[in-house]
């Protein structure tokens, strides 16, 4: 398993934290290099207030990078929007701490109530519904936390080490450096990998990449470098990448990284 040098901690505050669905989210976050810490009130019949007290304490002891917080804590009328009350307390205590609200109210007045509650606070608060895939939850947390890790894993085949300036091919759990991707070529790859990490599918416009190319025709030079990166990465993984693979030119406006299937 590949992890970042320092694992960002995500605090999970949910009365159904042990459900299969939440386990799949935790598994994904773990694979992503996050460390998940679940708030466990001591009483098995814990109320929303118990979760609130434990969550606030955990913010001091765990010092998480983000909180994944449920909106509803059981069927008691006091606990149906308890998550918003907990959110208010978290924002008072740690105004800069990103909070992702995990809710089943995808739409409708209850969701609007929930959203209106969150908008009262000037903080990094976002909503995601409980049927979201683990990938979606991980992506939203990446953006809320807003830091790109030193090691970016691209699918199962590559790891980009931004600190060391090296891209590795991963085969059978072993990493081997791809030495031909260095200098400006590495900078292009890092720019594309960082954009993909924060927002997969978002195009990186030419003007952001052309600073890593040279010559009179910087666009043509960029095209050559991208081709060389694709060839080098393909060779290291025993693959051949075509125009619609790995790094794709979109409408002659820019490039987007596409993770190999």
């Amino acid at each position: 398993m590949m992890t970042a040098a320092r694992r960002e901690k995500v605090l999970i505050v949910d009365d159904e934290a042990g459900s299969d669905l939440m386990n799949s989210v935790r598994r994904k976050l773990d694979r992503e290099g996050f460390e998940t810490v679940v708030v466990h009130p001591q009483s098995k019949l814990a109320s929303g207030d118990d979760f609130e007290a434990e969550a606030l304490m955990a913010i001091d002891t765990v010092r998480p990078s983000a909180v994944l917080l449920d909106v509803r804590f059981g069927d008691h009328p006091d606990d149906r929007f308890k998550g918003l009350g907990i959110l208010r307390k978290i924002v008072e205590k740690a105004p800069d701490l990103p909070v992702l609200m995990f809710t089943q109210y995808a739409r409708g007045p209850q969701r609007d109530t929930a959203a209106a509650g969150s908008l009262r606070f000037n903080s990094s608060v976002d909503f995601i519904d409980k049927l979201a895939s683990p990938d979606e939850v991980a992506l939203r947390l990446r953006r809320l936390i807003g830091r790109t890790p030193e090691l970016i894993r691209i699918g199962d085949d590559y790891v980009v080490d931004g600190q060391a300036g090296v891209v590795y091919a991963v085969r059978g759990g072993e990493r081997s450096p791809i030495r031909s991707v260095q200098g400006m070529k590495f900078s292009i790859l890092l720019e594309l990998a960082s954009a993909w990490y924060r927002s997969p599918g978002e195009l990186v416009p030419f003007w952001k990449l052309e600073r890593f190319s040279e010559g009179e025709d910087s666009r043509a030079s960029l095209r050559v470098r991208v081709r060389e990166i694709k060839d080098a990465l393909g060779e290291a993984a025993g693959k051949k990448y075509g125009p619609a693979d790995l790094i794709v030119n979109v409408r002659n406006r820019g490039y987007v990284l596409v993770v190999p299937k």
Binding site: A106, G108, P109, R111, L119, E136, P200, E202, P205, K261
Partner: protein, 302 residues
């Protein structure tokens, strides 16, 4: 339980997934009933006398409440099914054994139906809301790029499984804020991207642009295009291509109808241009145009 000849003992224990599947079947049945109820409800409402506005408003609020509760309660079994499916998937991946293609297909089907279910429930909720004559679009400061980014998050993995690259960009790159109904924008873009990923060949492109009076979201796919004789019907409620070809429907046929209704209610529009297969430039592109509201005139309700 006897060991499966294909998967071995440990894995065959996972086949209790059949039970959740029965629950999934029941869930789909209930969804069907609710769609029927929604249609019936709307029919009853249309037949009501126009001067009975107070009763209609209460009735509408009651219906909305009913669907909220329904959406919430339906979420529970679906979350359980999804949780079990993802658990089985993870255990299969860890065991590194070869998986019966039928089992893999079953797991993939459940995973792929999840966003469809999500969208279907929210489409019904929006439909009920739209039928409520007392409800008005909200106007909030919204970052349209953020809305597109969040929806793409949901579909980029689904696209990848189907061999489709989903990409998006905005012009200008820093798009900033517009004033509109955030939930409506999210809902329209979700329906358009869901649709594009369903019919694309290998590419879906989403472009966010603006001029002095409007901002635009264009969702383009390189699919086979929409035949001319279908075009008058694609925004009709309940229409899907399967209806025309008498095949099993895979969607509710509400998405484009709701998307256009929401766009027009906000003073904008949803239009389509398409070139059908046979021409090398075949594609379909839906363009959402929404007016750029001066923040001084925006009626913020939050």
């Amino acid at each position: 339980m006897a060991a499966s000849p294909l998967l071995g003992g440990a894995v065959s224990e996972s086949l209790w997934i059949i039970e959740p599947l029965a629950v999934a079947g029941a869930g789909l049945l209930v969804t069907g009933l609710v769609v029927g109820f929604a249609a019936l409800a709307v029919t009853i409402r249309v037949g009501k006398p126009a001067d009975d506005t107070g009763t209609r408003r209460r009735w509408s609020q009651m219906t909305q409440h009913y669907f909220d509760v329904f959406g919430h309660d339906m979420g529970r079994p679906i979350r359980r099914i999804l949780g079990k499916e993802r658990d089985v998937r993870a255990r299969l991946a860890e065991s590194k054994k070869s998986v019966d293609p039928a089992v893999q297909e079953l797991l993939d089907e459940i995973e792929q139906q999840a966003p469809t279910f999500r969208l279907m429930v929210s489409n019904i909720q929006v439909l009920v809301q739209l039928e409520d004559e007392g409800s008005r679009p909200q106007t909030d400061p919204v970052a349209p790029a953020q809305v597109v980014r969040n929806v793409v998050d949901r579909y980029v993995g689904i696209g990848r499984e189907r061999g489709i690259n989903l990409s998006w960009w905005s012009e200008p790159a820093e798009f900033g804020l517009e004033y509109c109904d955030a939930a409506a924008l999210d809902h329209i873009v979700t329906n358009l991207i869901d649709n594009a990923v369903r019919y694309a060949g290998s590419q879906v492109e989403v472009r966010l642009t603006r001029n002095p009076t409007h901002f635009f979201v264009r969702v383009w796919d390189d699919g086979p295009g929409i035949p001319e004789h279908f075009l008058p019907h694609i925004f009709d409620r309940g229409w899907t291509p399967e209806v025309a070809s008498r095949q099993e429907r895979t969607t509710s046929g509400l998405g484009l109808h709701i998307a256009r209704t929401l766009a027009r209610r906000a003073g904008g529009d949803l239009t389509v241009d398409t070139v059908v297969a046979g021409n090398p430039a075949h594609h379909t592109a839906f363009t959402l145009a929404l007016p750029r509201v001066n923040p001084d005139h925006a009626s913020g309700n939050r």
